[in-house]
């Protein structure tokens, strides 16, 4: 059985750092850290050992924070992001800003890949490792993500 309390002590900083980046709020990130590990402690069988602990923590943090973003009542910011998208370029930095603002509105699979690509700056190989899919699938998901963002701006 995985020692979750040891993982919290030794690698909890990873969860906190990524939650901070995704949510953009330190207090909310600290609360998320506690809730993520509280959930893991309640259901330790979630870790199946198929990936490294770090990869697994990346995945659970992303999913938790995306759910948190979806429940945020900040729809006004999405409207601003839509307006920003109408003059978007293909520059990664613009997509980073808009991806963060639109994460709550994207389907779960596309939101996750958007986080890994534009917030974590992972390569396609690294994203494939976290998502347990092929590199080609990652490319396909990113293309769908870009399409969704552009469509929402239209």
């Amino acid at each position: 059985m995985v020692d979750l309390e040891r993982i919290y002590r030794e690698q909890g900083h990873i969860v906190l750092r990524r939650a901070c980046r995704i949510l953009g709020d330190e207090d909310e990130a600290r609360e998320s850290l506690q809730e993520i590990f509280a959930g893991l402690l309640a259901r330790p069988a979630q870790f199946d050992g198929k990936s490294s602990v770090t990869t697994w923590l990346y995945s659970v943090t992303t999913h938790f924070c995306l759910n948190r973003l979806r429940s945020r009542r900040r729809r006004a910011r999405l409207a601003e992001a839509f307006a920003a998208l109408s003059s978007e370029s293909d520059q990664p930095s613009d997509l980073l800003v808009t991806a963060r603002q639109l994460l709550a509105a994207l389907p779960a699979d596309l939101a996750a890949v958007a986080v890994y690509c534009w917030i974590d700056e992972m390569t396609h190989d690294e994203i494939a490792e976290v998502l347990h899919c092929s590199r080609r699938q990652v490319g396909y998901l990113l293309e769908r993500c870009r399409d969704q963002l552009r469509r929402r701006a239209a």
Binding site: E5, Y8, R9, E10, Q11, G12, H13, I14, L16, R17, R18, C20, R21, E26, R30, E31, L33, Q34, E35, I36, F37, A38, G39, L41, A42, S52, V53, T54, T55, Y58, P92, S93, D120, E121, M122, T123, E126, E129, V130
Partner: protein, 236 residues
């Protein structure tokens, strides 16, 4: 917060750095990563920043609250009645106090315990179990800066209040509730709570280190210090 960055082509990403620091990279991948870091100043800087972030987290040792949602819910202290006249759990004099001692007008810590749907006022040597939620109140005629630090049965030192590493301001008042609550983890044995009521916002990291090294805390500059033990037992 770690600063954002734009990853240059060929450089390592956070995932690889985190795996490297956790010892999870296999032989060839690890060698390639270390070789790249040796020749890349940007990656060396980022690795150092991630190591500092990791070390800072480990040094702070924020307690792992088993039920995050409970930690954010307020125990309904008011619902069990305002017991202003009840004995405080611990009264501070400037050194260790006898648990349960009362000094008229002295600052003091109150304890509430929640188990399932029951809430009651705790006393010195209160028997508690993993999963119990603790909520503190503080009584003082003057304002100051407050911290509650715990040393559990395994020797681990945690800051119960505040949510950070600097003693937090506390207003004068009677049974002023401290924010949030602490849900006890699985470590059993005598757990000692140290209360520091200070004239200035002291850093708590030296307090943690001193408590971890010495096993007890009798005094601290610019603070009144008190200690009280809880009897944390295994849930059967």
């Amino acid at each position: 917060m770690m600063p954002a960055r734009t990853r240059a082509a060929g450089c390592l990403g956070d995932l690889r750095f985190d795996q490297l620091l956790a010892g999870e990279l296999d032989g060839d991948t690890r060698v390639a990563a270390e070789h790249h870091i040796e020749g890349c100043a940007a990656c060396r800087q980022l690795l150092a920043a991630l190591q500092r972030d990791r070390d800072s987290f480990r040094a702070r040792r924020p307690p792992l609250v088993r039920r995050g949602r409970i930690a954010r819910r307020r125990l309904t202290v008011a619902a069990v009645g305002c017991l202003a006249a009840a004995a405080l759990l611990l009264v501070l004099r400037g050194g260790f106090d006898r648990p349960g001692a009362r000094v008229k007008g002295g600052p003091g810590l109150g304890l509430w315990v929640k188990r399932n749907d029951q809430v009651w006022r705790g006393a010195a040597r209160e028997v508690v179990y993993p999963g119990d939620a603790l909520r503190f109140t503080f009584t003082s005629r003057e304002s100051g800066y407050l911290a509650v630090v715990s040393r559990d049965g395994g020797g681990q030192v945690n800051i119960y209040h505040p949510d950070g590493t600097i003693a937090a301001p506390i207003a004068a008042g009677n049974e002023v509730p401290l924010p949030g609550s602490i849900v006890l983890d699985q470590v059993v044995g005598p757990e000692t709570l140290y209360v520091l009521f200070c004239s200035r916002p002291i850093s708590l990291e030296p307090v943690q280190r001193a408590l971890a090294e010495r096993g007890h805390l009798a005094d601290w500059d610019d603070c009144k210090v008190g200690a009280v033990m809880l009897d944390k037992r295994e849930d059967k």
